[in-house]
Point group: C2
Chain length 287, copies 2
Amino acid sequence: MSAAFVRIHEVGPRDGLQNEKAVLSVGRKVALIESLAAAGLRDIEVGSFVSPVRVPQMADTDRVLAALPVLQDVTYAVLVPNIRGWQDFAAARRDGAAYEVAVFISASEGFSRSNLNCSVAQSIENLVPVAQAALKAGVRLRGYVSCVVDCPFDGPTPPAQVARTVGRLRDVAPMQVSLGDTLGRATPARTLAMLDAVLHDVPAEDIAGHFHDTGGRALANVAAALELGLRDFDSAIGGLGGCPYAPGAPGNVATEHLVALLHRLGYVTGVDPDRLGRAAKLAKELR
Amino acid sequence: MSAAFVRIHEVGPRDGLQNEKAVLSVGRKVALIESLAAAGLRDIEVGSFVSPVRVPQMADTDRVLAALPVLQDVTYAVLVPNIRGWQDFAAARRDGAAYEVAVFISASEGFSRSNLNCSVAQSIENLVPVAQAALKAGVRLRGYVSCVVDCPFDGPTPPAQVARTVGRLRDVAPMQVSLGDTLGRATPARTLAMLDAVLHDVPAEDIAGHFHDTGGRALANVAAALELGLRDFDSAIGGLGGCPYAPGAPGNVATEHLVALLHRLGYVTGVDPDRLGRAAKLAKELR
């Protein structure tokens, strides 16, 4: 893998669709995921094993996994919040397919209490059994840390607090950590300050950027993060998901916009822009 | 003027056209400038009083000035390199129109020697008579400083050197200084470091950003500069001019892209995107 390669983690079918009102059929989800794989995306988040009551959009993730083709070079990521979710995942996974299990915490106490109903420290405790199960099963782990720049409850998140939280998460198990600007208020300078703190302890290849475009600066923040050596970014096809804190506003940066920027900057993504355009069209029709 | 207002300095008809092969007729230049004013642009660089041998594209600036309408709220900027140019400008200016006279230096010695055939200190000396004439005549001055991030001859430009050069230029006369990333290699972090140094001594309202999109990061650098309080940016309609150091590559950031970003970020520009789109179409047909 050359230095100019940037890995895109497509989160539309999970992080995106989970924040859309429509609940898609298994068939439509699989069609969307197949179009993303056909465009050259190699890391695709396809669902989550969470409570079907809390997140009805993801209730059929087991059937999505059963229906997806086993592809040589594609890793399917699933969000697994607890050991119950792990058991569901373990039952649904198919031989031959590559999976990644994602866990989720917040860098801010306010968001952790509101979203996970516990402190940050407790949320890290809670995911230990999932991490251990994944390690034992040889399934790759990934951590999401939200509110790395601002929290809707606590205000700005101090960079040192983000660095501490990432460190505590990675004490549980080796994993890449995706840093989320959940409110989409990050700016290049704040992104750089936050990443500076984190990269003091963690190599850049173990960090991904997850920028929301709510404030219109997602691509500027990606450009800033690239400067500090980040080569992994999350995005959602068609900007699926929007912003849960500002109805109608953009949330996850759109994969097609991210790819256009990266190609313009001379990076290699392995993604075909024409095919990606077709996937984006499909995503917009589905929402 | 609210804090959210961003002033765009349209440089397409001068800085842009001067780097295009085609030499436009006075009529076509005036049509382009009128379409820019109609779109709501209030600061338009319309020509330069330089040697017609060195820059044949600008040889008819006196006739452009004669043909342009006197508009209540539009300032026409002209580049004036020396007292000979000032005399030509003084003869061509029309009563009732608002003008701004721009002077040009480099932050790097290599570019200064190559482009102006003298040291940076000498180039500042050379523009003193123009600055004095403008002050005396009550014409607003503006300074361009090129190579504020990289120089094609000297490599990276140290931020302290840019700050020093800006200070020496403003010792000549009060003026807004536009800082040019001439090679288009700036990144958000380098932009922030350079501006940090400059803004230590100069208020943000006296500094403009002039970013080239050669490296694809012009808008990311604008976003970074906005964070530090800059509210003045240069751009060229349709991206006129390209990059003199990389044929076919983009140079000046396109005004229509800059306006789209600023509006997305919630800034007010006074520019009508639809009319601007028509001006961009015209610019692309002319080049």
